[in-house]
């Protein structure tokens, strides 16, 4: 089954993180991505620019509007994702636990809906 590990974190906190610690976090992500590749479970992954770069399209009263800013103001924001292919939820959860975001923020695990 394919699962998306959606990585959430506090963007503001990340902005004020000292450079040294930021390097450490990025290294942790690189090592994690490599581990996923080595285990041959990684389908795709991307990091997203912060929500300040988001633009939202939404239909209000039948009119499609383009709005600056994210879908919703939240304490933690979607910052990236991993798409992995593993046998079951337990395998997906055990990868999610190893994700650096599990230490710095939140990882949401969701199965892909096969159409």
């Amino acid at each position: 089954m394919q699962y998306m590990l959606a990585v959430y974190g506090d963007e503001r906190a990340a902005e004020s993180t000292p450079r040294e610690q930021m390097t450490e976090i990025i290294n942790a992500y690189m090592a994690y991505t490599k581990a996923l590749q080595d285990a041959k479970v990684l389908v795709a992954s991307n990091r997203l620019r912060p929500t300040s770069a988001a633009t939202t399209v939404r239909t209000i009263d039948g009119q499609t509007k383009v709005l600056d800013g994210p879908f919703a103001e939240t304490k933690e924001q979607l910052g990236g994702y991993y798409l992995i292919d593993v046998p079951d939820l337990d395998a997906a959860l055990s990868w999610a636990k190893r994700c650096p975001a599990a230490r710095y923020g939140t990882v949401e695990v969701r199965p892909i809906w096969v159409m």
Binding site: Y3, P87, D88, L89, D90, L93, R110, P111, V114
Partner: protein
């Protein structure tokens, strides 16, 4: 699954033995608990219609397996045109059918229980799910026990089963490292079915009684499949100790009799002996846990049948251990009630006052009953009366309410 004639009951017993095993088998192969249940209940209906007259077949399990498999394949074929997922289901059913000996169905009920009690399933639904999928209880019976509207329970069960399938919860035993935590969830679910009201000081609740035997049976399944897990042994022992007192909990007039006033001769000696053996076996592993400690408390109570007295200081020690392990406010209330026995009502009440800061206890009947009892022993009648009133208000069981009313009446003349 209600039967009247002996032939019907024999058929039902034979079928029921196999129900959970076969649901577990099909669910594990297909990931679809609901489809497995549907197929089994169809096979059941056919069996219960034909076995009472034609006799229970030589190999009832193989008979049910064949009938259920046929039904699953039919359903999957019919759904195939509508849903891509049905393809996968059909494949796995056919695959399961190909490689199996109908005389030797593997017992995967524990796998099914682990799936139902998976951390990705709402904790409140784990017990109901296990009762339905392993024992075949209907939603109405489960709803009555868990104080929920039948419609709501039925809907939640459907949703939980869909979730097991959709999120890919596996049907296998957890890794060694995860086993203790995951087994705890299974045991908690079984204990929830047994009825959390039982071991409380004032605990007697008719609602739960229907599920007591089912929960004990599930406990036996766990112990049978994981005989070296001390907490499984502890839970089974705990349920047997509590169940052993069942007949002693009602007086000749049908009224509620609290543990301290029960006649030990009315306790089921065989059940207590079995519980003692299980607890001894559990303690030989030297891995203490919540259920073993709770069972040990019951063991001390059971010793009254021989010694004629209750060793409250031993119970206090056990509650100290439990409180450290769980931090549960329910355990804390039991501990302070015990302190009221060892150190006296003043100390017990002072300790209960400390707990009053936990707002969860405001709606907990045993807390108020304990308070009322300690206040009455101290002669503080007006306050005791108010505490009894609160306990009575919170108690859903009529027999226990009557008991509390009688206790309340005892102190009334002192201040009225």
């Amino acid at each position: 699954m209600k039967g009247t004639s002996p032939a019907h009951r024999a058929a039902e017993r034979a079928a029921r033995q196999s129900y959970g095993k076969l649901v577990a088998y099909f669910a594990a192969r297909t990931g679809d608990v609901a489809a497995a249940e549907d197929a089994l209940s169809d096979a059941f209906a056919v069996a219960l219609a034909s076995w009472p007259t034609r006799g229970v077949p030589q190999a009832p399990e193989a008979w049910l397996l064949t009938a259920a498999r046929r039904r699953m394949i039919d359903t999957a074929r019919r759904r195939r045109t509508r849903e891509a997922a049905a393809d996968r289901l059909l494949l796995s059913v056919e695959e399961a059918a190909a490689g199996m000996d109908p005389e030797d169905v593997p017992d995967w009920r524990l796998r099914l229980m682990f799936a139902c009690a998976h951390p990705a399933i709402d904790a409140a639904m784990r017990g109901p799910l296990i009762l339905q999928s392993v024992l075949g209880l209907d939603a109405a019976a489960i709803a009555a026990a868990f104080l929920t509207a039948p419609g709501a329970m039925s809907q939640r069960l459907v949703r939980a089963k869909r979730r097991i399938h959709d999120v890919g919860i596996p049907f296998r035993l957890p890794d060694r490292a995860d086993l203790p935590v995951r087994l705890d969830a299974v045991l908690e679910a079984i204990y929830a079915a047994f009825g959390t009201g039982w071991p409380d000081p004032g605990g007697l609740d008719a609602r739960w009684q229907g599920l007591v035997e089912e929960a004990v049976w599930l406990g036996r399944v766990v112990v049978g499949l994981l005989p070296e897990e001390p907490e499984g042994l502890g839970l089974l022992a705990l349920m047997l100790y509590s169940g052993a007192r069942r007949d002693a909990r009602r007086g000749a007039d049908g009224g509620y009799v609290p543990l301290s006033e029960q006649d030990p001769d009315l306790w089921d000696a065989a059940a207590i002996d079995e519980a003692e053996r299980l607890l001894k076996r559990a303690s030989s592993h030297a891995r203490i846990g919540r259920f073993q400690l709770e069972a040990a408390v019951q063991s001390v109570h059971a010793a009254r049948r021989i010694s004629g007295r209750t060793d409250w200081s031993a119970i206090l020690e056990l509650y100290d251990g439990l409180l450290e392990l769980t931090g549960s406010p329910v355990v804390a209330v039991n501990r302070e009630v015990t302190l009221g026995q060892t150190a006296g009502p003043t100390e017990g009440l002072a300790a209960l006052d400390e707990l009053a800061r936990d707002s969860r206890l405001a709606g907990y009947q045993p807390y108020w009953a304990a308070r009322a009892d300690l206040l009455a022993r101290l002669g503080r009648s007006a306050q005791a009366d108010a505490a009894y009133a609160q306990a009575i208000l919170l108690e859903p069981d009529g027999a226990v309410r009557c008991f509390l009313e009688r206790r309340r009446a005892r102190i009334r003349p002192n201040f009225a």
